[in-house]
Amino acid sequence: MPGVRRTFFGAVMETTTVFLVLVALTFISFFMGRKRSHAVASGQGGARSLHSLPKHYGYMAALWALLPALLLLVCWLIFEGSFLSKLTVSELPQQVQQMPANQQGLYLNQIISYALGSTDAAMLDEAQLTAAKHYQELAATSRTLKAMLVFLVALIGAVLALRRIRPALRARNHVEGIIKWILFGCSFLAVLTTLGIVLSVLFEAIRFFHEIPLADFLFGLDWSPQMAIRADQVAASGSFGFVPLLVGTLLISTVAMIIAVPVGLMSAIYLSEYATRRFRSITKPVLEILAGVPTVVYGFFAALTVAPFIRNLGESLGLHVASESALAAGLVMGIMIIPFVMSLSDDIINAVPDTMREASLGMGATMNETIRKVLLPAALPGIVGGILLAVSRAIGETMIVVMAAGLSAKLTINPLEAVTTITVQIVTLLVGDQEFDSPKTLAAFALGLVLFFVTLVLNVIALYVVRKYREQYE
């Protein structure tokens, strides 16, 4: 093992060194830019004649040295791996090149892991050893080339910037323009992330639907992805009917909402309308602790405490309760969502104008009548929006159900039985070693697509409703 670490670490060190030298070059460019601005100004009455402060000329040179080179470095790191693999493959014997894609991938992985020093030569054949040597040579060339090109680009950038320095050059505006683009780039990352999510799940899901028809997936009543025993079997791919997962997910979410909505909503009403300021200022943060507890802790609580408790309780009543009952998972998920519902409804109720409260109370209504007949109807759209957000969170919740819900998909709406959910299936399909092209793995991405789509729709509706509601009273 130490061999692996050293070589892998070596590759990282290489990049780190290149990066550090690049940073050093950036600093040098800064000082040279500043110096040069003094130099060009000295003939024309000193630093006063400059448009910007000398340091801005320095910044300009530094940015010109850093940014293009950094971009090159990042691109290089991203594409180096696949490029090297391609080159290695092209040198391999004919019969290897004609292997199916996943076998070839395995073959190549052996070569690369040997080249990086993590496996012994004993596992490889003659051709692989040659290829590994070839790979090592290529990698070495790539490293040298990377360092040289990055430094060259940095130097060219710095020289170009330095040559442009004149007293009349508006260096500050130039630098600020670049920085504004950087700021924009940072915020555009959110769009890129969404795009990344959509593309990554969509591509794999489309490949999945090439093998399993969409209708079978959406309307199939049977989910058992673990069947692919022999590749030549006709129906070797198991069955991928999505309905039991959906029902299971909805069942657990329903149990959760039955706990969370009344408790959360009533707490919010009590705390915002009845409680003294002091009581509220102590109670609210304490209840919000529930929101800060990691979900894995809830999962542990559900699996080891609540589920056995419910099973024993059910047995003493003469009921048969599964040890991974939907009730246990849903109950604990409900506890997790209480503070979420509470703070959302609290915001919404507080947004109802006081005039409405006062008018109702002034007419002689009791507080409870005011709340039920005036406040809640007025706040209803907002509360519904908040509940939708809570539902979307329940559907996407993973750890609780992974630890406390069942694995086998059963089509039932009995909360005492074990059901499975979309998220549980994603985790079980993807955790552990998998080959990346089997329908099993791809199914996880199809489920991910459904999950993303469902929660997205819920969120968009909820956010829209809440915003409309706010605008109504602003």
Partner: protein, 432 residues
Amino acid sequence: MNNTSKPDTFKHSEAIKASLKKRYARERRFQWYGRLAVLTGFVFLFILLFDIVSKGYPAFTQQFIKVSINLDLDQLDLPPNATQEQLFSANYLGVIKASLREMFPDVSGRKDKQQLYRLLSVGAEYNLRDRVIENPKLLGHTTDIWLRAHSESGSYLKGQVDAAMPESDRRVKDLQIGWLEELKAEGRTESRFNVAFFTNGDSREPEMAGIRVALYGSFFTLLVTFAIAFPIGVFSAVYLEEFAPRNRLTDLIEININNLAAVPSIVFGLLGLAVFINFFDLPRSAPLVGGIVLSLMTLPTIIITSRAAIQSVSPSIREAALGVGASKLQTVFHHVLPVAMPGILTGSIIGMAQALGESAPLLMIGMVAFIMDVPGGVTDPATVLPVQVYLWADSPERGFTEKTSAAIMVLMGFLIVMNALAVYLRKRFELK
């Protein structure tokens, strides 16, 4: 008209008076529902915390048994004046077994002997080895040495085993209980603070398993997360608050940020698996990828709170700076950001706390491995604290339940510290 309306009004007010009692009762009932709801929340929280703490606190102590060990050179397969290497690979297990047999000479039969050996941890021989290497003078003598107890005998010594239960239902057998009672009466058992829990990596044996690897993994992962999410989050917030023109692109960005805040965390794990591991070929199980995924997940939190902090900076500061000729960018970086910084830090700490407790996306990218070696950097395979909790929660041994709860206590301890820090910063911020 007057004559007819008077008794009518009277009748109405009578009716109202009669209904008042009902209405007030309903009012009181409603208030009680509210109190009940708040109370329910409290009760759930209390049960949760009580359950974890009561299960977890025994894991912070560990039982040791004093065994007189005869470090006989023949028994150890050692020549006189052994080298370090020979000391390292000597037959310590044999010595321990022989010493145990000597202490309980009446034990005979294979099964009984097996049970006797199971009093001590599998790791006891390494304990002994380290002691001998540290102090080679012990060789050839009989000395009393404290050795770590097996998790099952440990749990008996901690009083967690009900001896009244039928023998077949418990893992500590009657014979073992007899020996342990004997040892206890002789003062040969001791309970110590469980240092190994903080200094060991994961292990198959509950009494040797520790959270060190997970702590390092969490640290490296959070480091990456912070290094990526903090600058990008703050820059995005600055752009959206101070520079973004009102147009469709800005709207698109804002909608995206709001939606990302509500995307299930596991979907970010899918993104990490498909993009960073399969496409960019970054190492599996590494804090680097975990950190990148978590930073994408916490970015919306940081952006939204940073925007609120920047928004709350009073416009007079901006105007003053602009008035003396600062550029827009100088105004923001020299004046607005320093004032908004406590608020931004509060939001970032809350985001980091979220990232620290998150485990679902990390399962997707393979940070769910059995790892004994402490990671040395962000590209070494590692696991994180919540995932360690998940792994241990799956283990059937009773000893691991205890460990899981203890790991949860450590995790929650970190979260409480982080949140307290955030609250403190917010308080200071509000004073200004």
